[in-house]
């Protein structure tokens, strides 16, 4: 929303510099996003009177014009009589007109922000034109370029144009969002009231706006007046008012002054009737709409103006002013002539009752509409007008009457219109006056401040609250009708704090027993995972929860269990991912392309599926750890072994640091829980394992399936894992497994066993460990090698066993015997 500083000054005194005012508004009312100085555009532009118009000696369409600038302009060539000669091509040039003159050296205002066009004295077909007479468009007041702008006749020649029309102005761009609850501030008067209060002034609402039951004078000579009425169905409109006017010349323009007010805040002046309704909307926040009365009668089956305000019905259509024909739903509000919709209430008028150059009688509507329905109308039909922006904030029902009366006055004064009907007034609900009992103690307890009861009363009175003292510490506060956001004492506390400035309140820390709090245990585990993987040379990444159907397809995942967004930004972001690893794998190719030959990426994040709900009946959120290691062929050739063992190695390193014992079972042929089965599609089943902590399956580690590698442009050597981080966390051993070091020397033995290819390393180790457990000493075991000739059916597993006795030097004979036993075992 744009607020003109000079428009504000029509209602309040503002002495401080604009930057101070903006700071104060920011601290106590609303954020000002930017301030634009428009006065600079109009430097040098002068109001002149056309004294004489003569034909151009050498051009049919041009005139030589002598203008009177009151003698104020320096350094300009004047005629003997002091007038200035200008050549003008406008069809409406005429002696006696008051117009805007751009003298040589001045800049055409509407070119100021683009490529400034600076005028000079220049010959036009032999006659020197000293500057030019400007059109409204050139003055940046609307887009009328059909002729020179005809200023208001009351303006004296020689006045600076900017001063005459208060265009030495600043425009404040207001951040609307934080005024969502303040419909009153969407009008200049409401905004001025707030500025008055925060600058310590007491605001007085203009009399015409304070008069809630105003008189509207009805002309006596109204002829062939149709029946005018309104019927409101249900709760679609709290207040609906209509009045008919005649003698409306829709081709007539509003005053140039009004046009300048509208144009500077970005609204194109159109004609007197529309301009007046816009002007009053910007002044008060109350939008209104004018129908062509005779067109309404033409639409109405009984040729009357009996209107119905109701919810639209499925299947109805309406052609709007902008030419669109929309399908109505059953929650739009429509204005109907009889049963025929003629306007989309609060949003846009209909084409069938539009005012045009033939209009002579209008039906003026001032109303409020249910903001909830308007909000859906706004979104459904994509209408973001100034009017609906105001309606959806919830304008006060009491305000329609004074605004309607003022509109009638202005139409009379500016276009000569006359009211020809009584005001139709339908009020379906009236707000009960709310009186709040407010104590200084309560206000100060909320704010942590120390305002006296008189300070509080004074503050509220400045913003036109009605305040009555009730005992020593208590006030009876009535909010003015335009403050429908005030319901509870907290709202009053906000007013007091805000108007006096929250920054005046001294910060004080709360007093409470000091007791240490730690991040949750899971959060600590997650932090440990992060730091261990970082230490292992991996890089933590974050990727979107939203994935494409294409990614699901490429990784073989089903879209069926994935939540689907109805309003995703693009098809790329349509599904909520059910697993992390595809997102991580999708980032591998780009990093190889950046020149990284070997790397490991991991992400800690959540996944969701439709299959699992929690005890709140919401989707269960699984905390996952996704990891991928990848190496280009060049590097993979140098490194050794299957990619599977790379991924497993990182996982084992992590598990050891977390003190978790993991067990691996081949994915191929394993039965896995349903949630985990959803993850399995990216892996090559023959070269992947289900990861267990104790008896619980917590994830999968493995090489990536060939088709997935092709689809995601991954190299051959790529493997990864995805682990449920909360299950990993739960499996952490809480106690230390440290044992005191022995003071006595121990010994080691390397032992090789030859086993069948199908025999697993784990079973070999288990068998040996069972044997070692029988010894009265501490033993430990590390792998040394696994050798296998190509195409052989057997492999040799070599292990190094350490033997330590905590109480004595190790008994070598016992060790030798144990090794002999182990060597003779069958595996």
């Amino acid at each position: 929303m744009i607020i003109s500083l000079n428009w504000l000054k029509q209602f309040i005194k503002i002495d401080m510099p604009v930057d101070e005012l903006v700071t104060l508004i920011g601290a106590r009312l609303v954020e000002v996003e930017s301030v634009v100085d428009i006065g600079a555009k109009y430097v040098g532009v002068v109001v002149v009177k056309i004294a004489k118009v003569m034909p151009h000696p050498d051009a049919d369409k041009l005139h030589v014009v002598h203008v009177d600038d009151g003698g104020v302009t320096p350094n300009v060539v004047r005629l003997e009589n002091g007038l200035i000669e200008v050549v003008c091509g406008a069809p409406n040039v005429q002696e006696g007109l008051v117009v805007a003159w751009l003298p040589p050296g001045s800049t055409v205002p509407n070119s100021y922000d683009k490529e400034p066009f600076v005028l000079e004295a220049r010959a036009l077909r032999g006659v020197v034109s000293n500057g030019m007479l400007a059109s409204a468009k050139e003055l940046a007041i609307g887009d009328d370029h059909d002729g020179i702008a005809e200023l208001d006749q009351t303006m004296a020649a020689g006045t600076s144009f900017a001063e005459a029309y208060l265009l030495n102005d600043y425009l404040l761009d207001i951040e609307n969002k934080s005024l969502t609850h303040r419909p009153d501030c969407f009008g200049i008067i409401g905004f001025a009231r707030e500025v008055a209060a925060i600058t310590g002034q007491t605001f007085v609402t203009p009399e015409w706006l304070a008069e809630l039951v105003p008189d509207v004078v009805v002309a006596k000579d109204a002829s062939d007046l149709p029946k005018i009425s309104a019927h409101v169905e249900g709760d679609v409109s709290a207040r609906y008012q209509l009045v008919a006017l005649q003698n409306i010349d829709a081709t007539k323009k509003s005053t140039f002054a009004m046009q300048t007010w509208l144009a500077r805040i970005g609204t194109r002046p159109i004609g007197a009737v529309v301009d007046i309704t816009n002007y009053l909307m910007y002044t008060t926040g109350q939008p209104m709409h004018a129908f062509d009365l005779d067109k309404v009668m033409a639409v109405h089956p009984q040729h009357s103006a009996e209107l119905v305000v109701r919810e639209s019905r499925e299947g109805e259509t309406l052609t709007l002013l902008d030419g669109r024909t929309i399908n109505l739903s059953n929650s739009d509000i429509v204005i109907c002539a009889g049963d025929t919709p003629i306007a989309l209430a609060g949003a846009m008028g209909g084409a069938s009752t539009e005012i045009d150059s033939t209009t002579t009688r209008v039906l003026l509507e001032v109303a409020t509409f249910d903001l909830y329905r308007l909000r859906t109308t706004q979104m459904r039909h994509a209408i973001y007008s100034e009017a609906i922006t105001r309606f959806t904030k919830g304008q006060a029902a009491d305000q329609t009457a004074p605004v309607l009366a003022e509109a009638v006055h202005m139409l009379r004064d500016i276009v000569g219109g006359e009211a020809i009907s009584e005001v139709v007034d339908v009020e379906t609900e009236s707000e009960d006056e709310l009186i709040l009992s407010v104590s200084a103690k309560h206000i100060n307890a909320i704010l942590g401040a120390d305002y006296s009861i008189d300070e509080i009363a004074g503050t509220l009175a400045r913003a036109e609250f009605v305040v009555a003292h009730d005992g020593e510490d208590t006030l009876q506060v009535t909010a003015p009708y335009w403050r429908q956001d005030i319901h509870i004492v907290e709202d009053i506390a906000e007013e007091v704090g805000r108007i006096n400035g929250f920054d005046a309140i001294a910060p004080v820390l709360p007093q409470r027993p000091f007791r240490a709090v730690m991040a949750s245990e899971f959060e600590q585990t997650r932090s440990a995972i992060r730091s261990m993987l970082k230490r292992s040379g991996a890089n933590e990444i974050l990727t979107y929860n939203f994935v494409s159907g294409a990614l699901l397809q490429k990784t073989g995942e089903s879209a069926e269990p994935a939540y689907h967004l109805v309003n995703s930004l693009s098809p790329e972001l349509a599904y909520l991912r059910t697993s992390l690893l595809p997102s991580v794998l999708a980032k591998v190719h780009a990093n190889h392309k950046l020149g990284y030959d070997e790397f490991a990426l991991f992400e800690l994040n959540k996944t969701h599926t439709k299959r699992e709900l929690n005890d709140e009946n919401l989707p269960l959120e699984r905390q996952m750890l996704g990891f991928a290691w990848s190496a280009t062929d060049k590097v993979a050739k140098r490194s050794s072994g299957a990619a599977f063992y790379q991924a497993k190695h990182f996982l084992e390193y992590l598990a050891d640091s977390l003190r978790v014992n993991l067990r691996y079972e081949p994915l191929h042929g394993s039965k896995v829980p349903e949630w985990l089965a959803l993850h399995a599609t990216v892996y090559e089943p023959q070269r992947a394992a289900v990861v267990h902590a104790g008896d619980i399956a917590i994830g999968i580690v493995g090489e990536i399936r060939a088709a997935v590698r092709t689809n995601l442009k991954l190299p051959q050597a790529v493997a990864g894992f995805e682990i449920e981080a909360e299950l990993l966390h739960a499996a952490r051993m809480r106690t230390s497994n440290y044992k005191p070091l022995s003071r006595y020397p121990g010994t080691t033995r390397d032992i090789s066993v030859v086993v069948d290819n199908a025999t697993t390393y784990e079973s070999v180790v288990k068998t040996i460990q069972e044997q070692l457990a029988l010894l009265p000493v501490t033993t430990s075991l590390v792998p040394i090698g696994i050798h296998k000739k190509t195409d052989a059916d057997e492999k040799t597993i070599t292990l190094r066993i350490s033997f330590v006795d905590s109480a004595a030097t190790i008994d070598v004979a016992m060790v030798n015997k144990a090794v002999d036993t182990i060597s003779s075992l069958r595996y």
Partner: protein, 340 residues
């Protein structure tokens, strides 16, 4: 050529291809070519049907080729001993390796989040991670946004077909935190907790806007909580975070779940090259609206509280002078490895 002849030729091709070890050669076969060129002899009205049948045939052949290739590929796959620590080799043992520690990095958003959590827990606030998929009640209704209220529009929420919402703010945890702390309140213990996590807004992405970002939110409820307390807690956090004394200022803000509602700014710290008079808007805050307390069965006549919420991404961007918010979710190593 009529459709009958075509069907015969088709069945023959498919049969041959299925039996073949090199089915891809049937995609280039003269037989198929003649079917393709045969279309010009087909009556005009039959051509669409013929063309469709031809495409189906090509697709069937391709499927046969793919299936064969997949079968070949899986036959080439050697199962491995998943329980082994490393690969078996003929000679030297094959050892997997970690990467050099100096390559490793934590995500800057996550490191910063850990730091923020550390400061708040140090100040006595519990820390709870927020949900990434929630319902309308926790997103709006519990927070004093009436059904259909225009204030809901400001949050640009995504929705799933089921009406679930990837939350647009971490305030979705407020009702849960308040409920969980209710018993403590009765024992005279304040509710003091932050919630943190990933949030989502339906807005187009550019250098300063992301649809996915992180927030940290806090609530404090006691019998005596005041707005002055809130200003002090927030100032204290930022002073610890930036390691220096800071000036603060506020401006009115509208959030349905607080009353009064404020926007909170700090004077730009020297560490960020700030000069006096430069301000950084940091978060929104306010006194918890009585309706929000009521929604958690806490008596607003007896207890008051304050709440705040702000973005994490911005803190990190300011700290490192990061020029483009899109780096955070791009997962590119040239960015990430700056944060080793």
């Amino acid at each position: 050529m009529n459709m009958n002849d075509f069907a015969q030729a088709r069945d023959h091709l498919i049969k041959e291809a299925t039996a073949s070890d090199e089915p891809e050669m049937y995609l280039r076969s003269a037989e198929l070519q003649s079917l393709v060129s045969g279309i010009k002899n087909v009556a005009a009205e039959d051509r669409p049907a013929y063309g469709k049948a031809l495409n189906q045939l090509k697709q069937s052949l391709q499927e046969i080729v793919d299936a064969k290739a997949a079968a070949h590929a899986s036959a080439a796959i050697v199962p491995i001993d998943v329980t082994a620590p490393f690969d078996s080799r003929e000679t030297a043992p094959a050892r997997p390796h970690l990467l050099p520690t100096e390559y490793g990095s934590a995500h800057p958003l996550m490191s910063e989040l850990e730091r923020v959590i550390a400061i708040f827990t140090g100040m006595g606030f519990a820390a709870v991670e927020s949900r990434q998929l929630d319902n309308d009640f926790n997103m709006f209704t519990a927070l004093n946004f009436p059904e259909g209220h225009p204030a809901r529009d400001g949050y640009d929420t995504f929705r799933t077909e089921e009406g679930l919402i990837p939350p647009a703010h971490t305030s979705t945890m407020q009702n849960r935190i308040l409920r969980a702390g209710k018993d403590g309140l009765a024992r005279g213990e304040a509710i003091a907790s932050i919630s943190y996590g990933r949030v989502f807004r339906n807005e187009d992405v550019d250098a300063t806007h992301e649809h996915t970002f992180y927030q940290v939110e806090g609530v404090y409820v006691s019998e005596t909580a005041t707005l002055a307390n809130m200003l002090a807690v927030l100032r204290s956090f930022f002073e610890t975070y930036y390691g220096q004394a800071l000036k603060i200022k506020t401006q009115p803000g509208y959030f349905p779940f607080v009353e009064p509602g404020l926007e909170f700014a700090i004077e730009k710290p020297a560490a960020l090259g700030g000069k006096p008079g430069e301000w950084l808007e940091m978060l929104g805050c306010g006194m918890i609206h009585p309706n929000v307390l009521k929604a958690a069965d806490i008596d607003p006549a007896k207890y008051r509280g304050f709440a705040w919420g702000g973005g994490l991404d911005r803190l990190v961007m300011l700290a490192h002078n990061i020029e483009d918010v899109r780096h955070f979710e791009a997962a590119k190593l040239n960015f990430l490895r700056k944060f080793v």
